[in-house]
Symmetry: C2
Subunit: 109 residues, 2 copies
Amino acid sequence: MEKSSVEVKAKFIRGFGDKTRLQILESIRRSEKTVSQIVAELNGNQSNISQHLACLKGCGIIVSRQEGKYIYYSLRNERIDQLLDVMEAVFAQVAEEVSACDMNDELDC
Amino acid sequence: MEKSSVEVKAKFIRGFGDKTRLQILESIRRSEKTVSQIVAELNGNQSNISQHLACLKGCGIIVSRQEGKYIYYSLRNERIDQLLDVMEAVFAQVAEEVSACDMNDELDC
DNA sequence: GTATTATATTAGCACCGCCTAATATGTGTG
DNA sequence: CACACATATTAGGCGGTGCTAATATAATAC
């Protein structure tokens, strides 16, 4: 049986909902990067990064192109870039609001 | 030890990354709703919905106000509303691109 | 060809998130 | 007060997700 649209959408969003993946996205935002560049930059584990890249690609968030023995990853398009901006802006505002005013609310689930 | 900003941000985003929570957000988008209204609308389980509401509130995505024995939930502010719009737009475009052109890529992780 | 580098895949494990059922708390009503 | 209704919390099971280590594939260099 097929996944409902809202389920697929949730999965898409979850693509952004991980610390390491957010860092990868920040890393390749300005310019495409190879896996090893990302691994070096994030001081990460090659296998781990590779799996997160596969996840991001599977979610349609990034794309890859091969050049010789290197594989370059970059954001799928400019709208993903915009989405990252909006997420950051809204998060920054909410985080400030929450930590500054509402002593009751916390950012834990 | 404190959670890094990017970890908190990931958690914030994950607030949107669940089918039921997305449905709740759609439900309360237009106008605030009580828990029982949401439960009825989504044909859901009261305990389950209540937990998701706590999660959304904890993530700073929604707020609540009490009126008598009812508790009304609504989006925290208009920027959350905008974010939902942008997410939907980008997702729709990506979903179309992925399913139409790239036969290789799939929306699975 | 073999060796080396770049990346992907697999397996196993721990942990976290989601669900359901049951129970608790809180608020109004008779 | 007891009772009904609205919501929250707890406990337990279960599947998914992220991590590491090891192995596999693919491309280049020698």
